[in-house]
Amino acid sequence: MSDTARAEVSTAPVTTGRRRRAPLSEGARSERRLGWLLCAPAVIVMIAVTAYPIGYAVYLSLQRYNLEFPNLVKFVGVSNYQAVLTSPFWWHALVVTVIITVVSVAIELVLGMLLALLMYRTIFGRGTVRTAALIPYGIVTVAAAYSWQYAWTPSQGYLSAAFGNAAPLSHTGQAIGVIILAEVWKTTPFMALLLLAGLALVPDDLDRAAKVDGANAWQRFTRITLPLIKPAILVALLFRTLDAFRIFDNIFILTAGGNGTGSVSILGYDNLFNALNLGIGSAISILIFICVAIIAVLFIRGFGTAAPGANQGGR
């Protein structure tokens, strides 16, 4: 190995994305091998528990496969995808899912930010405030969904009684509203927690300096705090959007997808486990997987360098 090459390796800036390939020393190579060996068990487990089921779902989605008709199983290419994409039920479920996702994440972001600021600024009983705010997130979703369901059941629930014995779960629009309410109530604390972590990173000096320069509270929030916590906001939005898009348990308990309130996950579940149609059900699952992948890519592309996973220094 020549001296110049050695120098190049040692002086290569750490912050650039790609390093030039340089021949590795004996020690480095064996270290790398050890690294792979140490990773191997985890990689094998990951392949067994994620890659295999995903691959199997893709395989099933290309078959006509009804559990009731074991003799009629055959390869049908993409016709299951055609059936799903031409079905009004899929598009209806997708619209419902998108509405629930957009509305609930938007409300959660605003409420979560308020809650995070409150938790950040609280001087006394900080621990108590933070714990209290996190209680909804600590409750099992299904248990919480049942309590919402009882609360909205006419002649049983207090919320139904408060609205003149209303039965919102039997109307499409109102039921979606109740589902969004349950989602927001449940996951706003999670949003607040992620944003709080971001707020903790804002240096107090900057805030004080802006104050000295005469910026008011709103200006300081929009010009100083928001830009600095953008990465935290993005992480929070990405996590919550992906979660909200895959919504299942709240709907399953509240309406079971009745009256046109089913999300794409509910549609997939019903076709897999109620109709026992493994082909169509798997095709729906794969389409949900693709949607989730698109959301993740959009977030990372759309928000550029601040997105989680992008290199710190940018390119």
Binding site: R64, A83, S170, A256, L267, A275, N277
Partner: protein
């Protein structure tokens, strides 16, 4: 959730009655059966000298305790050949079906006897999950058994399950409001309108929510008008004019003053509660409402009477949709011959009488309807038997779930029915469902 949830309610209500010890008339029959099965026990663990074989009996949860007693009695009657272990399935019928389907698809050998809803046998049979009944077992299963129940358990000409209990709806009415019960739907609706004009309780209680119950209502209206959902070979959609007649009456009720304001979300139990609250004059429901009214509203109970289900077409007796449970033997059972014997025991005279009196579930053995022991709990036994003997069955196909979901989405809310176009939509959507293509909503 679906049809079966009210079974639990019925059993609960009836469970308060003390169980009386019953003579074991069927004991002899069973002993003979057990002897016949003796040779087969060799494949069981008993031959290895490790005690009786355990047979797992999966059925709907029964809070009355009758099913658990059946299991105990049959274990005792097997004289050490087998132990029936009663395993409770989830309360909701969807959950019951899903659990059994999932495990049978995986060839789980720890299920032996399966309690199936009347609509599941074709599906389980087509999938190859349950064994047909043949020879002496078939004879024992069909002897004295209600014919429409056997129909529900028959697929491609073979019997795949033995009927355990049956159920049917009657017209329940307030004799203080209505002197003679209406014979037809048209009469009932006009009686209700007349009561409304006098500002008296006048509502007609029926299941209108988007679930299995509304499919049952539609099927009853259709069959009573002389039609059926599928052709007899289960391959094509039938419907047609009788469907339009049935749909017209459903729509007429939904838009009349007789309709309950919450018709669109009502299930069996909601109807029961509405009738008990005194706002209704008529109720179409299963007999579990009777002991319940007696316990909850003794004043109203004095005027709480029953009559045959009203006719869709005047002069043509109604054909009410049959409900109930059939017992099937899993193909993956390690002891199928013993399982047949145990299933026959679980639905013998003794067990069915116990289930009727303690559990509130109508028997499938015709002779039991003339057994005086049944009369106290079932003053309406003659009407129930007549209803069951002339009953209609729901479409018999492995794709029943898909058809039922399609139908319930089209006929609920009932106010949204447009008889001619709803029928046309139903034909096309059901045809698609029968081809096994497309999604379920």
């Amino acid at each position: 959730m679906k049809l079966r949830s009210h079974l639990a309610g019925r059993r609960e209500a009836a469970g308060e009655r003390a169980w009386r010890r019953l003579p074991g008339r069927a004991g002899g029959v069973l002993l003979a059966g057990a002897l016949a099965a003796g040779g087969l026990a060799a494949c069981g663990t008993s031959a290895a000298g490790s005690g009786p074989v355990t047979l797992f009996f999966y059925n709907a949860p029964d809070v009355s305790g009758a099913t658990a007693q059946d299991a105990k009695a049959c274990t005792a009657q097997s004289h050490g050949k087998y132990v029936v272990s009663y395993q409770q399935l989830p309360l909701a019928s969807d959950g019951q079906r899903q659990q059994m389907a999932r495990r049978l698809a995986a060839r789980d050998s720890s299920l032996d006897i399966l309690g199936l809803d009347v609509t599941w046998a074709p599906e389980f049979a087509e999938a190859g999950w349950i064994l047909p009944w043949t020879g002496p077992n078939l004879q024992a299963a069909t002897h004295d058994t209600l014919a429409p129940m056997l129909d529900t358990a028959t697929w491609r000409g073979k019997l795949y399950a033995v009927p355990d209990n049956a159920n049917t709806q009657l017209l329940w009415y307030r004799s203080d409001l209505v002197k003679t019960p209406p014979k037809t739907w048209a009469q009932m609706i006009s009686d209700s309108e007349a009561l409304a004009r006098q500002h008296k309780p006048h509502l007609i209680e029926i299941q209108g929510a988007q679930y299995e119950g509304v499919t049952v209502w539609f099927n009853t209206m259709l069959a009573s008008a002389g039609g059926s959902v599928l052709t007899p070979d289960s391959k094509n959609v039938s419907l047609g004019k009788p469907a339009i007649t049935g749909l017209s009456i459903m729509k007429r009720l939904a838009t009349s003053v007789g309709a309950d304001p919450s018709l669109d979300v009502q299930m069996e139990n909601d109807n029961r509660l509405a009738m008990e609250s005194g706002t209704a004059a008529f109720e179409l429901n299963y007999p579990f409402v009777y002991p319940s009214m007696k316990a909850d509203q003794p004043q109203l109970f004095k005027h709480f009477k029953w009559a045959p289900y009203p006719q869709t077409v005047a002069g043509k007796p109604a054909r009410v949709t049959i409900g109930g449970t059939n017992l099937a033997i899993s193909r993956y059972s390690r002891h199928p011959q013993l399982a047949y014997q145990a299933a026959l025991c679980l639905r013998n005279t003794e067990s069915q009488l116990r289930n009727a009196i303690v559990g509130g579930l109508p028997p499938t053995l015709v002779s039991l309807y003339s057994n005086p022991k049944l009369f106290a709990a079932y003053p309406f036994h003659a009407d129930i038997l007549h209803g069951l003997q002339t009953a209609s069955i729901r479409p018999r196909t492995p794709l029943y779930q898909i058809l039922s979901i399609t139908i319930s989405h089209l006929v609920s809310p009932p106010g949204g029915i447009d008889p001619v176009s709803t029928e046309r939509q139903m034909v096309s959507q059901l045809n698609q469902g029968l081809q096994g293509k497309g999604l379920i909503p």
